[in-house]
Amino acid sequence: MGKGKPFLEVLASAIHEDYRFPFLEVFAFLYALGTFVFASFGVTITAQGGTSEAIVYEAITPLLSIPLFIFIILVFKNIAYGLGSDLEKGIIQTYFSYPLKRRGILTAKLLSALGVALLIFLGIQISALYILAPDIVLPQLDTVLLMYAANLSYPLLIAGIMLLLTLKLRRGGITLVAGIVLYFAMSIISAIATVIAFATESPLALQIISVISPSLALQQYYLGIFDFWTPAFSEVILYTGASYVVVAFVFFLGYTYFSRRLNL
């Protein structure tokens, strides 16, 4: 028996549960709606001009806002509620009776919960970019990639924190509520930090936020909303890299806990 077969079967089973009718259909529709409806506005705005990178930034930003929010909802549904319920009900226990390592089971669950959600998101985004604005996007592919990397790290951090919460609480419903509270708390903290930065004209708060949400640094780089802080391009890349180090660390904690300490 190959090692891959149990993993693929558990993955297939997880995908079957996470995206059963009508979840896949509804979320794909919302992704498409959020992307294409707002994409038209983005293309209109680009006509106003600016540097080519700024034009790309302005074109893509509206495409991302709603689908990223839908992505976070899907993360809540699949990780907080889905994995939480699997732990609560004992489905993970059932998976533990199969010849598959604990980390393999978690990877299968995360690939289903996050990987598939990300694939649908990127699939629709790439389609939208190629259909609606190929002339703008293709020459600035590096800017496009950086934008997606910067914008996705925060939702992935949320997903990682949700994973830790889920493993600790092991209850679908309560983890979902805790996750939503945490998400809004983080948004409020971020808003407060922005206000503080604006009031004190000190970039420190913005720089701290940029470590977990580098899209802020990217926004500053292209649009320069705050006069007192305009990061260099290399800084934006540094913030983006740092944010993924944070994301990787959070997932590493989740994996370590699941593999070595999780008692069922």
Partner: protein, 307 residues
Amino acid sequence: MSLIVAEGLAKSYGRVVAVDSLNLKLDEGSVTGLIGPNGAGKTTTIKMILGLLKPDRGVVKVFGQNPWDNTAIRSMIGVVYEKAFFPSHQKTLDYLQRVCRIFGVPESRAMEVLELVNLQEASDRDIRALSAGMLQKFAIAHALIHKPKLIVADEMTANLDPQARSELLDLVLQLHRDEKVTFLLSSHILPELSRVCDSVAIINRGKVWAFGKLSELYEKYAVGIIRVSTDSSYALEAEISKLKYVKELESDIRGISVRVVEGKEDKLYEDVPKLAKKIKAKILGIETGSASMQELYRLAISAKERK
């Protein structure tokens, strides 16, 4: 060869000690019952044996290996949990075929195991649409897919009707006889265990209080037990309790189990008919050494508590 060896196992949940210095050895080919009151530590013990819980202290070996995250031994173990849960939006046969692929056995085995537990008619039903009893049968079918050498079951017959229970116990005996499967069965329903088990481990307060072959345990704890069958159990019990050489007695609607001082069995045989005559009770039978597992369990617990 011992398939399961646990030495000095301990597990606590906060301040609550679930298992404390537990020792257990399960020989290949045995059918061992794990019995004990609620909260005795049976499920915690089983979870440590299956590698779901990490012991705070002690060692557990299954097939000579540490069960924690050990994939190699999972192919040799079938597991039935007290509350069975599976991905619920899949059809029973489809899911079992998936499990066949996981274990690398032919997919035809899925239908075979459904037939073994009389669930073939539910093969195209969603798992979530199964009743509690059917779900338990499905869990048993699921545990049998890969023809395991060892089956560990926690309250396997929970949720089953009497006929299904009986059929399942027949299946246990059949698998044990024909395929030499070793069983570790935890249950509250002691008469069921007495039907299939050759060994018993009595767990109480997180420790094994008595363990061994059933025959040895009966010899050790149930010596001097006499069963009196009568039509007036409770009235006769009151009379028998007045006899000075009676150590313990317990009655139910069908009769009385009496434990006497060693060497006084014949005296009881003489006295019981006289007492019955006095209260006009009818004696239906008197026999020695026929304690039920329930009585054995009670006797073992009380013997240990006296120590």
